[in-house]
């Protein structure tokens, strides 16, 4: 391998990514002086249709990209990633962390004209967030009641302390409010409103033609002054990524969110002046690529083998040559974008070292006979191009140290069933989604006692009492400083034991027309309400 060439590549890659970042920031500064223009239709790429559109009962980007413009959350994140009130104006928690009081904004109405009150918040929290919403049901497990002393006050009462900073960082995703008067009778899952959502947001639902498009129009009675600017948003269902790129170029689409195009098309459009291609505005949707080890295989239950596997894979090489500017070296389950919890890179790491990998495998007693030590079955998740490339890279890297890897591909349902329910894997690889606080969807990857079949949880056959205790303490720790320290311990512990390895950090990539203004200005912009988005002439 020509190392000098790689060195230059790495430098150019760094320079280009710096250039891209500068490009993204500068035009926005320059345009800040422009007067916002009212009107216009914003066309959005919608890659995978969901079964329903209500973000109060389903937490996923595929729902927020539509429902997040129609319905609103109590709290969202501002440009600095700090919680900012939307439907809630202010909040406070009692020192014991068992009571959180939200003061709600006055004079807000639902799209059907009925007033928005604390009754709606109480109903949604108790019946949707606590009972139906994925991740919400875990977050609100110890929520006992929501009191509504007056229409502008909602008091959340918890059986165990709820850290305020956890709640405020989870609520942007898990705190969308639905109208009580539309949901109080009948089965919530079957309610027709789920496919024709009614909210308080800047855009009103107009029409959903399955398999084709969704339309929402400007809400003239929106509570923020002068907002929104756009007349209409149209989401176009386009399942083929290459076709979506062609539609961007033909001017039929303005925005493709969440890495919706192929890696090569994103790189190509990035050079085109008509588009902005950037990870900005997606910092709140960080993910890491994983290698999940099944401890039921005796070879993998040996820590030396897990470490050897990590040492055998040249991650920087893979990122540089396959993922380019859209990914960086990961250091564990908490990504570096999470400024409130990131413990820094000084936790146990496993840099590429083939000799060390071979030595560890020999030491563990798995000698190579005829070049082969043992064979493993690798199940890659079907979510993205990067996972497919990464699984082939794992296969070839491990082949070089005498571990034969057979790749078994499945579709989404099949992958989840085989890995998290049947445990029919040796190695699995996919994404771990980080949702702004490790307690939301990260620690479940490591906490023991997860029920069989729960996807993206610890199904490895691995249990560690110390790690369990750290996780439990951090989840109820009210002091933010102590909480951060506990999560730093957690990362150290799991990076030492390595039940799951998370060596690559990625942020979703946005492709958007250069005419858009006020875009990508919050860490979860794809999911945000777009009340200030406008299109220049």
């Amino acid at each position: 391998m020509d190392l000098s060439r790689l060195e230059i590549n790495r430098r150019t890659a760094l320079l280009t990514s710096a250039a891209i970042a500068a490009n993204v920031i500068n035009p926005m500064r320059a345009f800040a002086q422009e007067t916002p223009r009212k009107g216009g239709v914003f066309n959005v790429h919608y890659g995978a249709e969901q079964r329903q559109l209500n973000p109060s009962i389903q937490a996923s980007t595929g729902v927020y990209i539509i429902g997040g413009k129609i319905q609103e959350n109590l709290v969202d994140l501002d440009a600095q990633g700090q919680p900012v009130g939307v439907l809630a104006e202010s909040w406070e928690a009692t020192p014991d962390g068992k009571t959180v009081t939200f003061k709600l904004r006055k004079g807000i109405t639902w799209h059907d004209g009925k007033p928005f009150t604390s009754e709606d918040v109480a109903f949604t929290a108790m019946n949707m967030w606590k009972k139906i919403l994925n991740y919400g049901s875990t977050l609100q497990l110890f929520l006992t009641s929501v009191d509504t002393p007056d229409p502008q006050t909602a008091i959340f009462r918890y059986e165990r302390p709820m850290p305020l900073n956890l709640l405020l960082r989870a609520l942007p995703d898990l705190g969308y409010v639905s109208a009580k008067h539309l949901y109080e009778s009948g089965d919530i899952r079957q309610n027709p409103t789920n496919l024709a959502p009614v909210g308080t947001g800047p855009f009103k639902f107009v029409k959903y033609e399955r398999g084709q498009y969704i339309i929402a129009d400007r809400n003239p009675d929106y509570w923020r002054p002068n907002a929104p600017y756009l007349d209409r948003i149209v989401w176009k269902v386009i399942t083929d990524r290459a076709a979506a790129a062609a539609q961007m170029e033909a001017g039929e689409l303005h925005y493709s969110p969440f890495s919706g195009l192929t890696i090569s098309d994103m790189a190509r459009l990035g050079k085109d002046k008509r588009f902005i291609v950037s990870t900005k505005g997606n910092e709140g949707n960080a993910r890491t690529n994983t290698i999940e080890f099944n401890f039921r295989r005796k070879e993998l239950s040996d820590i030396r083998v897990r470490r050897a596997i990590a040492h055998a894979i040249n991650v920087p090489f893979f990122i540089e040559n396959f993922l380019g500017d859209f990914a960086k070296l990961g250091t564990g389950p908490i990504p570096s974008t999470s400024t409130d919890f990131y413990p820094g890179p000084n936790t146990p790491q496993y840099p590429y070292d083939k000799a060390k990998a071979i030595a560890l495998l020999d030491e563990a007693g798995f000698k190579a006979s005829g070049g082969n030590r043992f064979a493993l079955k690798l199940l890659p998740a079907p979510w993205g191009e990067d996972i497919s490339l990464w699984s082939t890279f794992i296969q070839q890297s491990l082949g070089e140290v005498g571990i034969q890897v057979d790749i078994v591909r499945n579709d989404g349902g099949g992958f989840l069933k085989q890995v998290y329910d049947d445990h029919a894997f040796d190695l699995a690889t996919g994404w771990h989604q980080y949702r702004n606080d490790p307690a939301v969807s990260t620690t479940v990857w490591y906490r023991s006692g997860q029920p069989k079949g729960a996807p993206w949880t610890n199904q490895w056959g691995w249990e560690d009492k110390t790690v369990d205790a750290t996780i439990d303490n951090a989840a109820t720790e009210v002091d933010p400083v102590k909480r951060k320290a506990l999560y730093a311990d957690f990362v150290k512990e799991v990076n030492t034991e390595l039940p799951v390895w998370m060596p690559i950090e990625q942020i979703f990539v946005t492709v958007i027309t250069a005419k858009a203004r006020n875009h990508s200005n919050t860490p979860r912009w794809g999911s945000a309400s777009w009340h200030d988005l406008w299109l220049s002439a």
Partner: protein
Amino acid sequence: MRILSLAGRRLAASIPTLFLILIGVFLLLQLAPGDTVDALMAQMGGGDAATAEALRKFYGLDLSVPAQLGNYLWHLVRLDLGFSSIYGKPVATVILERLPPTILLMTASLSFAFFFGLVFGVIASRGVNRWPDTLISTLGLIFYATPSFWFGLMAIVVFSVYLQWLPPGGFEDIGTVQTGIWRVLDIAAHLVLPTLTLGLIFLAIYLRIMRASMLEVLNLDFVRTARAKGLDETHVITRHVLRNALLPMVTLIGLQAGTMLGGSVVVESVFSLPGLGRLAYESVVQRDLNTLLGIVFVSALLVIAVNFVVDLLYARLDPRIAAEG
């Protein structure tokens, strides 16, 4: 009357086949790992075990496999196709919504392929081994060998991105509400590229079959007789040769009507058309058993109907077939 009794006999013969197909598909899908709740979890990005259990109950997956199959068949004999888990609507409604674009695309591209296949086949056979034949056969081979997704994408790049003549995808324009003749023209403009993409592959097959079959018939005795009695060449070709050479083409159209329903997944995805092919693909990925079985059922009915029409056409083209049948 004869037609009706023939239709009745055909239908009776296909009912057992239909049931066998449905049971087969049902069991085959049980072998695929994961159910619709796993697929939903994949889409949602996760959820706890209690949610999964509530959802399994909601979709009726807590029953045993034979009970589910029994339920399905019992509903089917009462002509109820069940409830779609992805769409939350009756399967019949979902399929009915998707049927018009599918049938429109299918008939348009089949007619295109049939008509031009016939014309080019005749031209090629008239100039066999000379330049028109070589040109047509080579082009046909190129169309046949090119993958349809690539063809579609290139068509979008050329006609929508660079020339901006035609829309790059979708079934109709969403920006403006159109009615009457303008809506028809708008839909037609949206269907030009998909029709060509889907039709070109079939065109290649049709023109080769037509060419071969023309050449075969041209060498038969009755053609020599026709020429001997002094008929001009145009007459010989249109009245005597073409009619006999059409039989294999009609057979092929009957066979392909079925594959075209499912075979357009790629074209529907590239041009984002709301057709049955994409619906079937989605139902497999989402493990939406009812919808998938519904599509199989409707497709099977369609194939039976098309084959019936083809049989009638045979009799019309070649009276000997009807006499023997």
